[in-house]
């Protein structure tokens, strides 16, 4: 229904989980939440259409959406949590250092803030190697990339988010999971999906440093101040790892994942054509 369903390869991951062709996921009958959200699960720029169900990550989001009059919400959990069930964590994962996600703007948005100050905070807190993961917009900015590299950080990018059926990147979440599994800690200057993903993927999360801001940032649903109040326990250079995992499970709906048959039925997807297809297939990281 919506092009945002294919952001970050989300629909691709779900297609694989459902035993369908993950290079070309079918049209999904509803709106799939694509990022951690303190509102109704829909992106701020997304128009709400009555009758189109929202497939949400968490029960908390569903309750919020209901209270706002959006009744057709169904908790399915985050695609990242499905990916983890297909590529479970292992004790043999070699973890070292921190993967750091500076707050970024999305397509058409510009973040305003002091990257040097942020790097200083990172150096103060982190005692191991730091990988800085930039959004593709920042990653393409050679100057900015260079600044982080000059500061001694490894700089990576997980790929394109994609949009309007262009530049879709089915390998996005796979690359993210692979990187998270290599690191002992995950950190950002704002609480965001990546921090919850990291916590679920076994990293010790942290949220610290100048949170920066977007040009003309609108504080929908209470904005950053509400995030600080409601999820205070996840803020700071060091947070309680067990509590963080518990919160990540809740926010990503990792304890509420659907079986493939139910998910297919809900998304309006067909049964796999062959029994072999129903077996989980591998996906190529492109």
């Amino acid at each position: 229904v919506h092009h945002a369903n294919h952001y970050y390869g989300h629909s691709h991951v779900l297609a694989r989980y459902c035993g369908l062709d993950d290079t070309d996921p079918p049209r999904l009958r509803g709106y799939l939440q694509h990022g951690w959200n303190i509102g109704d699960g829909l992106a701020p720029d997304h128009e709400y259409t009555p009758g189109v169900p929202s497939f949400l990550w968490s029960e908390r989001t569903r309750r919020r959406a209901w209270s706002l009059g959006h009744r057709q919400g169904y908790v399915v959990g985050a695609p990242f949590a499905y990916l983890l069930t297909m590529q479970p964590l292992s004790d043999s994962d070699q973890r070292e250092g921190t993967i750091w996600y500076p707050f970024h703007g999305w397509e058409g948005q510009h973040v305003v803030g002091d990257h040097d100050g942020l790097m200083a905070s990172m150096r103060d807190v982190e005692d191991g190697p730091v990988t800085v993961c930039l959004y593709w917009q920042e990653f393409r900015n050679a100057k900015l990339r260079q600044r982080y590299e000059d500061a001694g950080f490894r700089v990576i990018c997980h790929g394109y988010r994609g949009g309007w059926w262009k530049d879709l990147d089915p390998g996005f979440l796979y690359r993210q999971l692979a990187e998270l599994r290599k690191h002992r800690r995950v950190a950002s200057n704002r609480l965001c999906s990546a921090v919850f993903y990291g916590a679920l993927a076994g990293c010790e999360p942290a949220v610290y440093g100048d949170p920066m801001h977007l040009e003309n940032e609108k504080a929908a649903f209470g904005g950053q101040p509400r995030i600080l109040r409601e999820w205070a326990a996840l803020h700071g250079p060091y947070v309680n790892r067990d509590l963080a995992l518990e919160l990540a499970v809740d926010e990503l709906g990792a304890d509420r994942l659907l079986a493939p048959a139910e998910l297919r039925r809900l998304l309006g997807w067909p049964m796999p054509k062959r029994v072999d297809d129903a077996e989980l297939t591998g996906v190529l990281i492109r």
Partner: protein, 563 residues
């Protein structure tokens, strides 16, 4: 056999045919109360012959108002010795305390005729008690004028029998079991046991007050009550949901359609009597009702329930279940006992008598324990309401993976250990899932699911929740109650209105999307045309045309070679 016309008889009248008022007393759950009747017996008022058949007493006097009924009974019992038929009004019956048992399971409202002087309810009772010997017993029904059957009824035209209407403003009429017990005690006939009487079920105080039996009672009443108004009479709300709520709120006694009182010395009767679902009860009817098809006996027991009557429920419910898959032993519990068709310990076939055994457990007549706990549907709805979808999946999964998968969720009791006990016979599992979907949508719970809240789609989704892949086209049709109720119709109307509004909104959304796609397509085609016109584009087209020609040539050669 001759009919004794005692006076006040109605020459053109029948209570037994159910056309002038409610059907006569005939619920199979009454049978266990009748089997221990001894001595001279007066059966006053209209009773289905199947009930009279069950009375083993050697001397029975039947008192009816209409000559037609009297003649029919005379023909029906012509071969049974010891049966006397009196036709007329109660007050004309000789006031001799001649009877060891007086049976008035139709109540007191159809004992006086049009020719009689008007008597209050209390005066009628006094006249009836006058026929009882000093140590005689009384079996009496009292309609609850505030019972569920009246709460769900739409206004109806008065029937022929209501030349005087039973009225809860009559100060002499007891308004509940307590007042009735007091009245009978004052008359020297203390009540030994009384029951809340629902279609297909008599429930004693011990059964009603034990919360552990809640699920079993809900299942039992959900089975028998919905069919009470067949042939369909529109009503305010689905009585099955109301009854289930009454059980949960401990109001099943207060809201029962009627109460049955066993008074005087002698046997006290079972704690509860429940007409079994499934083929067992059909067999029972055949053996009790010796009358052939279409005869009075058959009509009386199936007969249409008039306003305010819930009487015909159990037998129609039984025939409905008998049309299903047949008795599949759902678990080693109630269903097998119910479908066995026989009851141990001198019980009545097709009717389960519930009592406590030596260890205090609730058991059926054949010693099979009654399952304790809540109904599966109740648990599922509770979990759905909390949106505890993992719990819903667990319950659905356990249900569908076990031996009771084909038993409707209303008929499955889940005990404290999480074991599932079917209390009705099993059909196909997908049918059971569809019944659940129908109940959720029909009951006003459609909002628990994303649209479209359509029975077939929801059934497929519920199956998906158990991990089973079901194509909606494979979801079987089910037979559902055709009774219209205002609440359910309103729910359906509101749901459909909302679905239509949603569909319109979606339509507009899709229109906009198509317009965008059209625009995009146009742009791409224009771009294509421009590119084709460039030198590079022309060269590419020439190359493609050349390749196509080459392919055609190769194909032609291959064809010729084959030929």
């Amino acid at each position: 056999m001759t009919v004794q016309l005692i006076g006040g008889e109605m020459s053109v009248w029948s209570d037994l045919d159910g056309t002038h008022g409610p059907a006569p007393a005939g619920d199979p759950s009454l049978l266990p109360l009748l089997k221990s009747i001894t001595g001279r017996t007066l059966v006053a008022g209209p009773h289905a012959p199947t009930l009279i058949d069950a009375i083993p007493a050697p001397e029975i006097t039947l008192l009816v108002r209409g000559v037609t009924d009297a003649e029919l009974l005379a023909a029906r019992f012509a071969s049974r010795p010891g049966v006397t038929i009196c036709c007329g009004s109660l007050e004309k019956l000789a006031t001799i305390p001649a009877y060891d048992t007086v049976v008035a399971l139709d109540g007191l409202d159809r004992l006086l005729t049009t020719e009689a002087a008007e008597l209050t309810w209390d005066e009628t009772l006094t006249r009836l008690l006058a026929a009882r010997s000093p140590r005689g017993r009384l079996l009496l029904r009292l309609e609850n004028l505030f019972g569920i059957h009246r709460l769900v009824a739409l206004p109806t035209a008065p029937t022929d029998t209501e030349w005087v209407t039973a009225d809860d403003r009559d100060p002499s009429r007891p308004l509940g079991p307590d007042a009735m017990r007091a009245r009978l005690a004052a008359a020297g006939v203390p009540v030994a046991r009384d029951y809340a009487a629902y279609p297909g079920a008599l429930l004693g105080g011990g059964v009603l007050s034990d919360p552990a039996l809640g699920g079993f009672l809900e299942a039992t009443l959900a089975r028998s009550v919905p069919e009470q108004s067949a042939p369909a009479q529109p009503q305010l709300t689905d009585p099955a949901r109301l009854v289930a709520g009454a059980v949960r709120h401990r109001l099943a006694d207060d809201l029962a359609p009627s109460w049955i009182f066993l008074a005087g010395p002698g046997s006290t009767g079972p704690e509860a009597s429940i007409a079994a679902a499934g083929p067992g009860s059909l067999g029972a009817r055949a053996s009790i009702g010796s009358a052939g098809p279409g005869s009075l006996g058959a009509r009386a027991s199936i007969g249409s329930a008039g306003p305010g009557s819930l009487g015909a429920g159990a037998s129609t419910a039984a025939s409905r279940s008998a049309g299903a898959e047949g008795p599949i032993a759902a678990s080693a519990s109630a269903a097998s006992a119910a479908s066995a068709g026989t009851a141990a310990g001198g019980g009545v076939a097709g009717v389960d008598e519930i009592h406590r055994d030596g260890g205090g457990r609730w058991v059926r007549g054949d010693g099979v324990p009654v399952p304790l706990g809540r109904t599966l549907e109740g648990l599922l709805l509770a979990a759905c309401q909390r949106r505890a979808l993992p719990d819903v999946r667990e319950l659905l999964g356990a249900w569908q993976a076990g031996p009771v998968a084909g038993v409707p969720a209303t008929q499955v009791v889940v005990d404290a250990e999480g074991n599932f006990h079917g209390v009705a016979s099993a059909g196909k599992p997908l049918e059971a899932l569809r019944h659940l979907a129908a109940s959720m949508i029909g009951g006003g719970y459609a909002h628990l699911w994303p649209s479209p809240a359509d029975e077939v789609q929801l059934t497929a989704l519920l199956a998906g929740m158990t991990g089973r892949e079901v194509d909606p086209s494979d979801v079987p049709a089910i037979t559902q109650s055709t009774v219209e109720s205002v609440r359910e119709l309103t729910i359906a109307r509101d749901r459909l209105t909302e679905e239509l509004a949603d569909a319109r909104a979606k339509h507009e959304f899709y229109e906009r999307q198509i317009a965008n796609r059209d625009h995009e397509l146009k742009r791409l085609r224009q771009m294509n045309a421009i590119l084709s016109a460039t030198t590079a584009g022309k060269a590419a087209n020439t190359l493609v045309d050349g390749l196509k020609a080459g392919r055609r040539a190769v194909r032609a050669v291959v064809r010729r070679t084959r030929d």
